[in-house]
Symmetry: C2
Subunit: 102 residues, 2 copies
DNA sequence: CGGCATCCTACGCGATACTG
DNA sequence: CAGTATCGCGTAGGATGCCG
């Protein structure tokens, strides 16, 4: 499996956002920048998982972390240009889901 | 996480082919029908994993199993119309991967 | 609020071996 | 060739608790 995911463009994308969690993060952030807790609620995932996924996406330059000062803390996540480019992929998926999955 | 994947079209698609293996199966079958062993080699996965994924995709009417008689056995997998409709999604991914992932 | 640390469990998945 | 069965490990990911 490893080989295919490093060779082919499709495989590489799959390796990056090929899990439901990362994909849904991108989907949400395409809508608008969001805070950690907002994502947490939207996805219904644990903070642990969310934090880990966000870190990967940040390292891959898909997502930007912006920390506003103040107390309590406030952090906004948004998409980079590279991340926003997932728009086409997500829309293709949405279109498919709407048409074929009830 | 469960909720988001049953509510939103994108989530539902993710639940279906939101893992690298299933996605790569679809990618391959978009090219042409393939035999079990061909998929096995192409993906570099174990027969166990492949068989399980294929069963799911078959149950979801993404993939069709066609058994030719003869010995040794020969089985061809191909996409249904519903499966072929993933073309747009896969192409969007390929386009993204080509542009942004080296 | 936005995390990180810890613990714990389920399961994905490869390796191997065996059948029709 | 096309699977199924069994074992065994690595890991994803929830639950909980703590801290700046």
């Amino acid at each position: 499996m490893e080989h295919a995911m490093k060779t082919c463009p499709v495989g590489k994308v799959a390796a990056l956002v090929g899990d439901p969690c990362s994909l849904l993060i991108v989907r949400d952030l395409l809508e608008s920048p969001m805070r950690f807790s907002e994502l947490e609620r939207s996805l219904g995932s644990s903070s642990r998982t969310l934090a880990k996924k966000l870190k990967v996406l940040e390292k891959e330059k898909i997502v930007t972390r912006k920390e506003m000062r103040g107390t309590p803390a406030c952090v906004k996540y948004s998409l980079t240009k590279k991340g926003a480019a997932f728009h086409e992929v997500v829309e293709a998926m949405r279109s498919y889901g709407t048409k074929y999955l009830r």
